[in-house]
């Protein structure tokens, strides 16, 4: 089952919902009901119904016996919400193998949305952004919402430049509930600027996690002799030598990753580096850890 978390295997699956369920179901079964995590399906307690609660969660058996409406509460059910911020700039279209960074991000976002919606009953929202907010799916838990999120993910295509400030500022106006914000991007920007842009999302007690998705070629590029490189976002060209790529560039990308992680931690923001040739469980595992820590 672990193989189904392999991006190359998932890439062969056509339906994004099927990808999401495959990833999450496989992931969950692989956890063997670890004591570290409480899933929403496990009963925890009853609490009195309050206006606004979803009537689907009312325990009608108790209501019949006691004429009181109680809401059935489960482990992990904290009325949390998950906000997925997906970078759909042109640089996300890069790949050195069969799967682009954006396709990888799309799988992660779909899997997280599926896990949050179906397993955790969390409201899940989605923001597709580049230099502006291109698509926005407000967080909700109602039936069919997951399909809407997945449809928005499918419709998105990598294009234009990246700007973290404007989209995240725009997002702040929608974050009224406590929840988790997951930013999926390659983060080609100065780490301080990125952290400065995402730090305000931590208001209302939100947990912010940065998933930096990079292609292996970006971390360890291979250049034979010299190459003329073209920036996917700006179109700028630059001739680079093999010596530089294998030396100075590696130092700079490693420093960039390290700086971003350090800056994020310093600001109380989670950070994880994901490579597109690695399984997706790292992202799901990280999500659950944060989710559990919040309960």
């Amino acid at each position: 089952m672990q193989n189904l978390l392999d991006p190359a295997v998932l890439n062969a699956i056509s339906g994004l919902d099927l990808v999401a369920s495959t990833v999450v179901d496989g992931f969950v079964s692989g956890l063997h009901r670890s004591a570290d995590f409480g899933f929403s399906q496990e009963f925890a307690e009853y609490r009195a119904y309050a206006p606004g609660d979803d009537l689907r969660h009312v325990d009608w058996n108790v209501y019949a016996r006691s004429d009181r409406a109680y809401i059935k509460r489960f482990h992990g059910e904290t009325n949390s919400q998950l906000m997925l911020l997906v970078d759909a700039s042109s640089s996300m279209g890069f790949t050195s193998h069969a799967l682009t960074k954006f396709a990888y991000v799309r799988f992660i976002a779909a899997a997280l949305a599926y896990l949050a919606t179906r397993r955790q009953r969390d409201a899940t929202g989605l923001v597709i952004f580049g230099d502006t907010v291109r698509d926005f799916v407000p967080p909700a838990t109602r039936q069919g919402h997951l399909q809407r999120v997945l449809a928005a993910l499918l419709a998105a295509q990598p294009q234009a430049n990246t700007s973290y400030a404007a989209p995240l500022l725009h997002l702040q106006s929608f974050l009224r509930r406590r929840g988790m914000v997951v930013v999926l991007s390659d983060f080609y920007a100065p780490p301080a600027d990125i952290v400065r842009a995402v730090a305000p999302l931590r208001i209302h007690g939100n947990e912010v996690v940065l998933f930096q998705v990079l292609d292996p070629e970006e971390l360890r590029p291979r250049v034979d002799g010299s190459s003329m490189l073209v920036d996917l976002e700006t179109g700028a060209q630059l001739e680079v030598s093999e010596d530089y790529v294998q030396g100075r560039y590696r130092e700079r990308i490693d420093a960039h990753v390290a700086d971003l992680g350090r800056e994020a931690r310093r600001a109380g923001v989670g950070y994880h580096l994901l490579q597109t040739d690695q399984p997706l469980d790292q992202a799901l595992l990280q999500y659950l850890r944060l989710r559990t820590g919040r309960d």
Binding site: G93, F94, K101, Y188, D215, P221, S226, V230, D231, L232
Partner: protein, 676 residues
């Protein structure tokens, strides 16, 4: 190592192209998309790095391809053996089978040495056997089969032909033109001095031919009847003189007995003292010669290695004197007198001249005359001209002199050429014209020296561009013209035989000229008393003749097959002896063929000349006087020869091309992957 076409090495300069392309490619790489250049620094581009060449292996392979191609076209060669390969060459064994090889055991020695060469040759070496006589006859194809070569060598028999070393040079050129292999040419011969041409450059051998001479035999004294001067045609045996010359080559002084045989019977015998390595002549006069074609022979008592040249054969035709008709104007009696006197003054006086006037010509039967002379006739009646022209067309010969009387006519009868005018040189300042040009190949004209001092005062000018001019005056006016008419011939002397138009009758040249004319017109000059082996006899005088020719050889065989008998025009005499010929026009003839007396001198050529020739053959250059470089022949299979390596260079170039393709394909795939 050397180069046959070094100019092609300039093609190696083309290696600059791939070097330039590799440098160019380095600075114009294919753009490749990358997610972000944020972490790249523009200042990392290095000028030094830019100039470095990428894909060294590919570049080296491309340079190798160009260099090898240039080398292949420049045709490198090395001398000596290629490692692991037997030297490739063509072995040509030429065995002299000329008459001189009959002396002693020369031919056997030559054959034995040639067989030894065949036995010693490498099994895969191709060889060819050639018999060198009057011509170079290939006895085998170029073959590796030693049995075939040995059989051909054993089949070589001595001939009566004259050997010429010039033929060998021609053979070498022919062989070299037909093969790319170096040729090793072996000549097995007695290498007579008489076989060498006066100019050694005629023995020039082409490049790639190595000459190895195998001299056989030792100098041997030899006497011979060197020549016989006998008239081809006689009418009065009492006046006949047969002069024989006896020569000795390398001989001591000795007395030889010389015998004249006529039709196989001894007709006279004399003794003559021949000086050491000298000559002596014997004259047989008044020998009894029967009518018809007679076989004559002069023999000496044989006491040497070559017997066939102790006899010299010849043929004499004895016939009655021929008659000629001299036609003149009735008033001109003097010219006929001059002409008759000249003819009767000739050595053999074989022509009887009948003088008639134009009116008398009408009733004459021309078939009994050998030729007719029209002496300055002022016009012929049409019937007479037609009669005369028909006789000429049937094979008759006519001499016309156009003096002052004939010049008054509009055309020359029978000769059928318009008279354009006349010129009286006595009215010029020079008073006369001299003979200035003589076609000495034209028998009646004779040598120019004889015409010096002859004055021509008057000449008739005709328009006859198709006629052959045997004599011309100083102003290029033709004096003697000839043109064919049917099977006969018409000669035009554009002045008279009288003393008014020329002073020729007053000079001795007149007798000689008239005698040559008479001989030529009567046909007596067309035959010779003896020929040499290798000379050709004409069997079909007129190519249009459909008749069958035949030859009866001395050995009693008929060498012509049916096709040759129907088609052959001339035929070379292959051996010494008498040949009975039946010509295509059914006439019969008898010819005598003698061995060339150049073969009788068994003195070998000087070693210095032979070594010079051999060395020049080894170097592929013409021998030059004073060149001292002489290389001794080396044993078969160990000598150095030039090996052309162009094929190896081309193969290496092909390998380099394949390697370049593979390496380039690998680089191309890498670039494709990089560009994705």
């Amino acid at each position: 190592m050397g180069w046959l076409a070094p100019g092609f090495l300039l093609g190696a300069l083309a290696i600059a192209v791939p070097v330039w392309l590799h440098l160019l490619k380095r600075s114009s790489s294919q753009p490749r998309q990358f997610s972000s250049l944020m972490l790249f620094e523009p200042q990392t581009r290095s000028t030094t790095r830019r100039r470095r060449i990428d894909h060294w292996l590919l570049l080296l392979l491309r340079i190798a391809v160009l260099l090898l191609l240039a080398a292949a076209f420049a045709e490198p060669f090395v001398r000596g053996h290629l490692p692991g390969a037997a030297p490739e060459k063509l072995l040509v064994l030429a065995v002299d089978d000329s008459y001189s090889m009959r002396a002693g055991t020369r031919l056997e020695e030559a054959r034995r040495e040639a067989l030894a060469i065949v036995a010693a040759k490498a099994r895969d070496t191709r060889a060819q056997i050639v018999a060198l006589g009057s011509r170079a006859a290939a006895l085998t194809e170029q073959t590796q089969d030693a049995d075939v070569l040995s059989t051909a060598l054993k089949s070589i028999a001595p001939s009566d032909a004259r050997g010429s070393l010039v033929l060998l040079a021609g053979l070498a050129r022919t062989l070299a033109a037909g093969t790319q292999m170096p040729i090793e040419l072996h000549l097995f011969s007695d290498l007579q001095a008489t076989g060498l041409p006066p100019d050694l450059s005629e023995l020039r051998l082409p490049p790639g031919v190595t000459l190895v001479l195998h001299k056989v035999g030792q100098p041997t004294p030899n006497w011979t009847v060197e020549s016989v001067a006998a008239p081809a045609q006689v009418w009065d045996p009492a006046k006949t003189r047969i002069v024989a010359t006896v020569a000795g080559f390398g001989t001591p002084e000795a007395t030889r007995t010389v015998t004249l045989f006529i039709d196989g019977r001894s007709s006279g015998q004399q003794s003559v003292k021949v000086p050491a390595s000298g000559r002596a002549s014997v004259v047989f006069a008044g020998a009894e010669i029967p009518y018809g074609l007679v076989r004559g022979s002069v023999q000496i008592d044989g006491a040497d290695a070559l017997r066939a040249d102790d006899s010299y054969d010849f043929v004499i035709l004895r016939s009655e004197r021929v008659h000629a008709l001299f036609v003149h104007q009735g008033s001109d009696q003097a010219t006929g007198l001059f002409f008759r006197s000249a003819i009767e003054s000739a050595a053999d006086a074989a022509v009887v001249l009948d003088a008639v006037t134009v009116d008398q010509l009408r009733t004459r039967d021309l078939s009994s005359y050998a030729f007719v002379v029209l002496s300055d006739v002022a016009g012929l009646p049409a019937a007479v001209e037609t009669h005369l022209a028909a006789w000429v067309k049937g094979g008759g010969r006519l001499l016309i002199s156009a003096g002052t009387a004939a010049a008054q006519q509009r055309r020359v009868p029978v000769f059928d050429a318009p008279i354009t005018g006349s010129h009286d040189y006595t009215r010029d300042d020079t008073r006369f014209a001299a003979v200035a040009a003589v076609d000495e190949a034209y028998a009646p004209a004779g040598p120019l020296a004889g015409w010096q001092g002859i004055k021509v005062f008057y000449v008739t000018r005709v328009n006859a561009p198709q006629a052959q001019a045997g004599l011309r005056l100083a102003d290029q006016t033709p004096l003697l013209l000839e043109k064919p008419l049917g099977q006969g011939r018409v000669l035009l002397f554009t002045t008279g035989f009288d003393r008014l138009t020329t002073d020729l009758p007053l000079h001795p040249q007149f007798v000689a000229f008239v005698d040559r004319l008479a001989t030529y017109l009567s046909g007596r000059g067309s035959r010779s008393s003896a020929l040499n082996v290798g000379d050709s006899v004409e069997l079909r005088p007129d190519p249009a003749l459909r008749g069958s020719a035949d030859v009866l050889a001395p050995d009693g065989t008929h060498p012509l097959d049916l096709r040759e008998a129907q088609q052959v025009r001339s035929w070379p005499l292959p051996a010494a002896g008498f040949y009975v010929l039946t010509l295509a026009d059914s006439r019969h003839d008898l010819v005598a063929a003698n061995i060339s007396r150049l073969e009788s001198d068994l003195t070998p050529a000087g070693d210095d000349k032979l070594k010079l020739w051999e060395a020049a053959g080894s170097a592929g250059a013409a021998p030059a006087p004073g060149t001292g470089a002489v290389t001794a022949p080396t044993p078969i299979g160990s000598e150095e020869s030039a090996h052309n390596l162009w094929w190896y260079a081309m193969c290496l170039a092909l390998v380099a091309v394949v390697a370049e393709s593979l390496v380039a394909s690998r680089y191309l795939n890498t670039l494709r992957e990089s560009s994705k």
